[in-house]
Symmetry: C2
Subunit: 232 residues, 2 copies
């Protein structure tokens, strides 16, 4: 039997992050924010602020207990600085799951002037998706584009934690010059078109944080947003 | 670059489950529901209906893209049959995260006569936790116990996707004869007391589905509930 560690509630998160850091060091996992050149993953110096980059990676591990995130998270150049600035300046967030919407710290977001939207459960979205033979996520991204068009001065971050078709729809609109969000958090999870849809976004010039491979999820999308929010 | 697979929206989930099955077979992962004795994990025959057991495991993998769940999910004797019967008969669910509450199919649950509750964000829960120096999850479990006391004929399933202290509080109340839920889904995630809290519940006679080790999360808790709901 494992032993219960006596710990005060307010110490639990701090202790968790210590364990994550100790484990990463002990296992010699290459991380994209390391100041140790030998241990630094490729492209490590280009994501922006290393402390925030580390906090993002740690929070993804914290929410999944999965150390794969230390080596699979991909950051476009200066992405960490860009998303921090966007949130500080009141950017809105559109997500593809109500679970991610629930997990994002809306109180903190709102104090900065941002709001979070999810159109996935809207009845008209479901009806239109069915009629057109596309996914609800595809229609939900078109709703995001409309929202952006109605207020083009408001920055928009897309936080995609579930549907690869959201990223595919987004890539199509971007290619056609219809809609380009200011930032994409691309962490859909699963087995059908998940890897390819992430690669599509990484081939564009849209700033991103993406988890390469099949893994991701709503809590990971929320964890990335919250890591940045808590830095402000 | 990976290639986008053309697939109709209504086929995506089915295709995902096929890929999961193919991967499990290809990698020879021992699973707790196998009909192949050589490939069956220990205790496999005692969880109950093997088809439902497999659906639960697959849905956990589907929601995380993490095949560890094939070998770390633990089922108490007949647990799969017990939780199916409980939900069919209108059991309520209490969860420790609003993300799990969001992820559970409430429409289906309500048609069966059940409701899902989460007390974590209640202001009085936060206030009481702070005053007593315990976690909100601990107080939330006491609220679950009160709810059960107010209507003892209504069965209650606890779906714990985040807080080990919820399982610890529950174990304490059970040991003291104060409160015993009808079923525990125990999939907290993290590093502080997560493993030990799961072991505590597995040492009791409460029927459970638990993910051994550090992994779990709100989507996993919701996936287990939904796998059973969709079987009804």
């Amino acid at each position: 039997m494992s032993t219960i560690e006596a710990i005060r509630p307010e110490e639990i998160e701090k202790r968790s992050f210590e364990i994550i850091e100790e484990t990463i060091k002990a296992q010699g996992i290459p991380v994209p924010f390391s100041s140790d050149e030998d241990n630094a993953a490729e492209g490590s110096c280009r994501a922006g602020d290393r402390v925030l980059c580390r906090k993002i990676v740690y929070r993804c591990i914290h929410t999944t207990a999965d150390f794969d995130y230390a080596s699979t998270l991909r950051f476009s150049d200066n992405s960490v600085d860009i998303i921090q600035r966007l949130l500080r300046d009141g950017a809105d967030i559109v997500t593809d799951t109500n679970m991610a919407l629930t997990g994002i710290n809306k109180k903190k977001l709102e104090t900065l002037g941002g709001r979070v939207y999810c159109f996935m459960a809207d009845e008209d979205v479901a009806a239109e998706a069915k009629k057109r033979g596309v996914t609800r996520a595809c229609v939900a991204m078109e709703r995001a584009a409309s929202l952006h068009k109605s207020n083009p001065d408001k920055s928009m971050i897309l936080a995609i934690g579930n549907a690869p078709t959201a990223l595919m729809s987004l890539h199509k609109m971007h290619s056609e010059g219809i809609f380009t969000p200011d930032f994409v958090i691309g962490v859909p999870v699963g087995f059908v078109n998940v890897v390819a849809s992430k690669e599509l976004i990484m081939s564009t010039d849209i700033p991103y944080i993406i988890n390469e491979g099949n893994k991701g999820g709503s809590p990971v999308a929320a964890a990335i947003v919250n890591a940045v929010l808590y830095s402000l």
